[in-house]
């Protein structure tokens, strides 16, 4: 469960957002909605624990460390998709057989070029490498900041399926997206409006 209580963030002489309240139970999704510059990424960073200049409370109840996937999704150009994935999992102390890694990449339609450095991949393909991590993580709370951008329609479809499977297994999903995702049209929304 993730709960936000009267969360305010003051940045660069103005309130980025003020008095936010939200509660997301296991199995539920929450969409963060807001214009460019309205503080979505800052909110994600606060929830992930990267940014702590805020007022109010963020409660992550017995869910362990959330998995945060931001605009910069930690795929190194010099490493192959398998090596990148291995490193990201290693950071969360997860050891997986290479077969599972290839299976996770295959789920996101990356089958060839797995032994080539990621520099050769397109932006969308790099994003898929980062997203393959979702298949292997044990984190219960997913924080996906603009995870649907840079993906083509089949990619978005796979991602929504993976997210729905996560929700079905009692996970929690918090995401932002400028595109409408039909599968999550009914998800609760949290609107960010920049205070003047």
């Amino acid at each position: 469960m993730l709960q936000i209580e009267s969360l305010s963030c003051f940045r660069q002489d103005r309130f980025l957002f003020k008095d936010l309240n939200a509660k997301v139970l296991p199995g539920q999704a929450l969409q963060i909605v807001g214009e460019n510059g309205s503080g979505k990424t800052t909110l994600f960073k606060i929830l992930a624990g990267l940014f702590d200049e805020y007022e109010g409370r963020v409660i992550l109840a017995d869910a362990g460390r959330p998995l945060y996937l931001g605009h910069r999704y930690a795929v190194n150009d010099q490493l192959t998709p398998i090596e990148n994935l291995n490193f990201l999992l290693k950071l969360n102390d997860i050891q997986q057989a290479e077969g599972l890694l290839t299976a996770a990449l295959a789920r996101f339609q990356l089958c060839s070029g797995l032994d080539q450095p990621c520099a050769a991949l397109s932006e969308g393909q790099k994003k898929r490498v980062a997203l393959a991590r979702l298949m292997l993580t044990s984190a219960r709370i997913w924080l996906l900041d603009e995870a649907f951008s840079a993906l083509d329609a089949p990619g978005r479809a796979v991602l929504s399926e993976v997210c729905q499977a996560h929700l079905a297994s009692g996970g929690t999903l918090i995401f932002s997206s400028h595109q409408g995702i039909p599968e999550f049209a009914s998800a609760a929304q949290l609107h960010l409006k920049a205070e003047l």
């Binding site: 605009h71 910069r72 999704y73 010099q78 290693k90």
Partner: protein, 214 residues
């Protein structure tokens, strides 16, 4: 261990940075006799100091490169968020920095020394002092790189910020080698190394948390 392997793989696949600092060092040493004097009697006493200064500058030159890509692609954020101790990752980063700029120079030291007409025993002491001293340089460079990563003009700010902290190491290292291994300088250098290894990775870890929240 996995983390160190990752760093080394990245280094091997993009060796331009390491080669650049090595080339810089070799060029300075090669041009020095041409510009000042080819006379071995005048060159030999300068060797230790010159190679130490060049090593220090080469380390500074490569410092910001080692972190820039991790910051830009978001790996640094993921490292801060990971279950791994962050100080350990900072130590690994310092080791990778040492392998990429100090180690090649250390291995080249006999050749660089010969280019400056240094006698063999001087070269041995020079290498000994670099073995003890250069890890301190790498640890400080990583702290500086972490302080300035993501800032505009970070490559200009970093040397100004970190160079003063490298001076004690430079003095102790060169004195130890020049005096042919006087115990006082050796002990001080070793003590400084121990102190740096146990404190600087922790300081760098604190700074890393600030860096990702910018």
């Amino acid at each position: 261990m996995t983390l160190l392997l990752r760093e080394l793989k990245i280094l091997l696949r993009s060796p331009a940075g390491a080669i650049q600092s090595l080339m810089f060092a070799v060029l300075v040493i090669a041009l020095f006799p041409l510009a000042i004097t080819p006379d071995p009697d005048q060159l030999a006493p300068l060797g230790i100091g010159l190679i130490w200064v060049v090593t220090l500058l080469a380390c500074l030159l490569a410092a910001d490169k080692s972190l820039a890509s991790d910051y830009a692609d978001g790996s640094l954020e993921q490292m801060v968020l990971s279950d791994y101790p962050l100080w350990w990752m900072c130590l690994v980063k310092s080791m990778a920095h040492w392998v990429s700029c100090a180690l090649p120079l250390l291995l080249m030291a006999p050749i660089l020394g010969a280019m400056l007409a240094m006698p063999l025993d001087r070269i041995v002491w020079l290498m000994a002092s670099l073995v003890l001293g250069s890890p301190i340089l790498s640890l400080f460079c990583m702290l500086g790189a972490m302080l300035t990563v993501g800032l505009n003009q970070s490559s200009a700010l970093l040397p100004i910020l970190i160079a003063p902290f490298l001076v004690p190491t430079l003095i102790l290292g060169t004195q130890w080698a020049t005096t042919g291994g006087e115990a006082f300088y050796g002990y001080m250098l070793a003590a400084l190394l121990c102190l740096s290894v146990v404190t600087l990775p922790f300081a760098t870890a604190v700074v890393a948390k600030i860096a990702v929240s910018r």
